[in-house]
Symmetry: C2
Subunit: 234 residues, 2 copies
């Protein structure tokens, strides 16, 4: 087989993200601890997020709005001003949070960029994702950056046609089974799952175990060898 193009997810694949969301979740739960236990608060927030996804899409701004809405629902008579102020501050802090790349990312991407066309494919708020890419120092390694509103098979077909030589010669690597692996395989690409320590509830899905174009790796450091091994089989 020939691989010309490597698609890479950003959040929780190249740099920490969900941990920052979890920290904010923790702060949110503490803020509302008089109005419910952790499970109740988390469940309600997840429900509000799911309900709003169709309108807000992905990213910190929608998450902040969903936190405010959840607080309004959980507090008798609505959330007091200090709670809303705290949530606004938490959202702004997330948007200004330093970007910390995951172990081995810098050197692995540098190695991959010598052999393949790298395309960053990510969901989230446009400006926030651009900021994080700039702050990561990885921007120059990518031939293209696609910030998309949804990652379905059509997205991967379009992106790999536009920036590569089609899905059949592309590998997608990321931490989300639901967004990075399954739709990329459906589009005809290869897909590698690189789990992060935690996964957002909305990104969970079953692995396509045994699929010939699927792989799973503990670390991105093993990605170049994984691709090379498959190329050698051809």
């Amino acid at each position: 087989m020939t691989i010309t193009t490597v698609g890479l997810d950003a959040d929780d694949t190249l740099w920490h993200n969900e941990t920052i969301f979890r920290l904010t979740h923790g702060r949110f739960v503490d803020l509302l601890d008089e109005h419910g236990d952790r499970e109740t608060i988390e469940a309600r927030l997840a429900e509000v997020e799911r309900r709003n996804l169709r309108l807000y899409g992905y990213g910190v701004k929608g998450f902040t709005l969903s936190m405010i809405e959840t607080a309004m629902e959980l507090c008798d008579g609505g959330a007091p001003p200090e709670v809303v102020r705290e949530i606004l501050a938490a959202g702004r802090e997330m948007l200004a949070h330093p970007v910390e790349t995951l172990p081995s990312v810098d050197e692995t991407l540098a190695a991959l960029a010598e052999r393949y066309r790298l395309v960053l494919i990510t969901k989230g708020d446009l400006l926030d994702q651009e900021r994080k890419l700039a702050a990561s120092g990885l921007g120059d390694l990518f031939a293209a950056v696609e910030i998309v509103s949804e990652k379905d098979s059509g997205t991967y077909t379009r992106v790999f046609d536009r920036h590569g030589t089609g899905s059949a010669e592309a590998v997608m690597a990321g931490n989300s089974m639901k967004s990075d692996v399954l739709p990329a395989i459906e589009a005809g690409a290869w897909a590698v799952h690189i789990p992060y320590v935690v996964t957002w509830a909305h990104e969970l899905a079953d692995a396509p175990e045994g699929h010939p174009r699927y792989g799973t790796l503990d670390t991105i450091a093993d990605l170049p060898a994984w691709i090379a091994a498959r190329a050698d089989q051809a």
Copy 2:
């Protein structure tokens, strides 16, 4: 001269947008009328928006967060829950608002698409702009869609290189002097200002009067003739 590519702004160029923001502004002022007169409230909201632009970027979600923050500042002791709920509802309604194309847009774009490559170039929330384009029914007329976090000269150079034959053979048309006209001209493209009935305060700028690649039109219906007349001069 040769023109191969026509860039088009979306909000207030192809469909109504600022009027919907103004309606929401009105609703916001009414909501806070015990806490200040219209001018004070509007001035404070503009200040908060400007302060947040660096973190939130453009679009309805950031605007909603800025309204909540402004309400917190204007109300003694912070905004009461019913105000916050109203603002959240107003934001959601903006995101679900029907898309109404401006007069002559449909037939003009259809005519332009027969002769030029059309590229939609817009700021705002990713999902919201995609939703509006889909709802407008204009999506198939565009060879490419670029939802960007900022419209500066680098943006236009990149977009017209990627989707056309470079800035020198491209026309950008839009309602914002600051975002659509000035940076496009700086990038070496032609630019046509088509004013909308109202302009967001952050988009105001002086016209490049007398510039050889600049024009202004009352209606998008005159754009094909404007381009054709310049092409004839070559």
